[in-house]
């Protein structure tokens, strides 16, 4: 009995020790192997083969591939990668395995369309994905909205954007603003207003907190872009009248008869550089802004940069 107990204790200690050692070794092995060897491999890239191999359990496999696509995009985005080679194949597999997985089209397009490092810079593929989504879910007006969004924001193709919004407006229960957007696209005037309308619509029509926060960030950045555009025009006007640059923002405000020094959405006043550039005080707070940033400023990549 005593001997048996001794063996049991030894076996238990050996079990715990071996497990701990194997975990430590595995950790070291992982550090030796480059991450790319694991990440950049897609063993099966034919949706048809994969669908057959799923034996009818394609729904679960689609969820797994969707999670993989999210992780892949998140990882590359975090590393500020310039290429997203696996993103479209992963999204393509996901949507062929489960053509009704609407979230994969919506988020997938916003992963694919923006230029790197915020996205894959493949707006044509985003369009391809959305068209496949519409083909399989023709009564989901939000897919037409997202398609129009990509055409407008990334491809600057106002005619096709108008067409997408128009098609979406004909879907039963489509949001009334779809018709409005279609009209706006047709004349593609007031770019800031249109962009604001699109982001406001995105905010109002999503329950996802990431999408809503992202839309708010874009709306803030839009206001900065618009303010800086107007202020920069004022600087040019000042130069044309006086033949020199304004000394500071206060001088510009007084010449333009503005009520006070304009402030950004965070309440910080815009600053005027000696070279006559209007800039925001804290560029990191407006990573989606395209204007008012110091030369060479690299914004931290953020998801869904479609501005």
């Amino acid at each position: 009995m005593k001997a048996r107990r001794k063996v049991s204790i030894l076996a238990a200690v050996s079990f715990v020790l071996s497990l701990a050692l194997s975990a430590v070794l595995l950790h070291h092995i992982d550090q030796l192997r480059p991450r790319a060897t694991i990440e950049d491999v897609l063993y099966l890239n034919s949706p048809k083969v994969l669908k057959r191999a799923s034996l009818g359990y394609g729904g679960l496999l689609a969820d797994i591939y969707w999670t993989r696509a999210v992780q892949y995009f998140g990882g590359r985005n975090h590393d500020s990668a310039q290429s997203y080679n696996l993103l479209y194949p992963l999204l393509n597999l996901t949507t062929h395995l489960d053509p009704q997985l609407v979230v994969a089209y919506q988020f997938g397009a916003s992963f694919l369309a923006p230029p790197p490092p915020n996205g894959a810079g493949q707006p044509e593929r985003a369009v391809q994905l959305m068209e496949y989504g519409i083909q399989n879910n023709p009564n989901d007006w939000k897919l037409y909205y997202d398609l129009g969004f990509v055409y407008y924001m990334n491809l600057k193709d106002y005619r096709k954007a108008a067409d997408a919004f128009e098609r979406g407006s004909n879907v039963p229960n489509a949001h009334p603003f779809m018709r409005l957007l279609a009209a706006q696209m047709a004349q593609h005037a007031g770019e800031f207003d249109t962009a604001r309308m699109l982001w406001s619509a995105t905010y109002q029509n999503s329950q996802d907190k990431h999408i809503r926060a992202n839309a708010v960030e874009h709306l803030r950045a839009l206001r900065v872009d618009e303010d800086v555009t107007h202020l920069q025009e004022a600087v040019t006007r000042f130069g044309q009248v006086t033949g020199r640059l304004p000394l500071n923002m206060a001088e510009l405000v007084s010449t333009e008869r503005l009520p006070r020094v304009p402030v950004d959405p965070d309440g910080h006043p815009y600053k005027l550089t000696p070279e006559g550039r209007v800039e925001v005080m804290v560029p990191d707070d407006f990573s989606f802004a395209t204007k008012g940033l110091p030369p060479g400023f690299e914004p931290m990549p953020k998801f869904h940069n479609q501005q």
Binding site: G56, G58, G59, D63, W66
Partner: protein, 258 residues
Amino acid sequence: MNARVVHIASNTFREAVRDRVLYNLIAFALLLSGAAILVGQISIDIEKLVVINLGLTAVSLFGIVIAIFIGIGLVSKEIEKRTLYTVLSRPVRRWEFIVGKFFGLAGTLVVNTFFMAVGVFAALFYVSHKFVRADALILVALYFIILEFLIICSLALLFSSFSSPLLSAVFAFSLFVIGSFAEDLRGFAGMAHGFTRWLVTGAAYLVPNLSSFNVISSIAHEQPVAGQLIWQNTFYAIFYAAMALSGAVLIFEHRNLK
């Protein structure tokens, strides 16, 4: 139902429980609770979908594995242990033995599925914090999964009535895979000509059509299932299982057990 059949069925159920078959529920619970917590953190907007897809797929696959691995031993194990002779020396007919075994295994799977279904609904409540009307559709998917089990059980029993456990497992599993492709097989038959067409069509109707029982994906997207499909699948499963069971009885009746 015949009292002797009920007796054999309840003994089969007890034996399965004694064999710790229901321990798979622990693995199932861990899998589902782990997924419910993890997916929200590593994916976007598919928590509910994953719970339904993973939950129902696990119910289906766990059940099929149990049906095959228990089913294939139902007859051969009794012969090996020589307990079959004790049973048959009593006033029990061979067909009663086979039918009893079938209902015992089917009962085990229904109980197993019931507990798993409770787990699926609990996980669903955890991720959604409420139930909606469309969640009732999950019951239809579970019902179809049980119908699928009846077919697999009867096939495992059919193979078990004449073959070794290893070969029976291979046959039953192969038929499960082929059954998942049954619609393609009928498609191939449509493309063939002459005798080949008849042959492939015959094969396509002989193998079980399991693809029509798999509505997990559409139910996860809250798409309703046609009432016609429900009753047609019900009768298809009953007739197919009855056919396989009749085959098992036929073989077992003529099997030399000496």
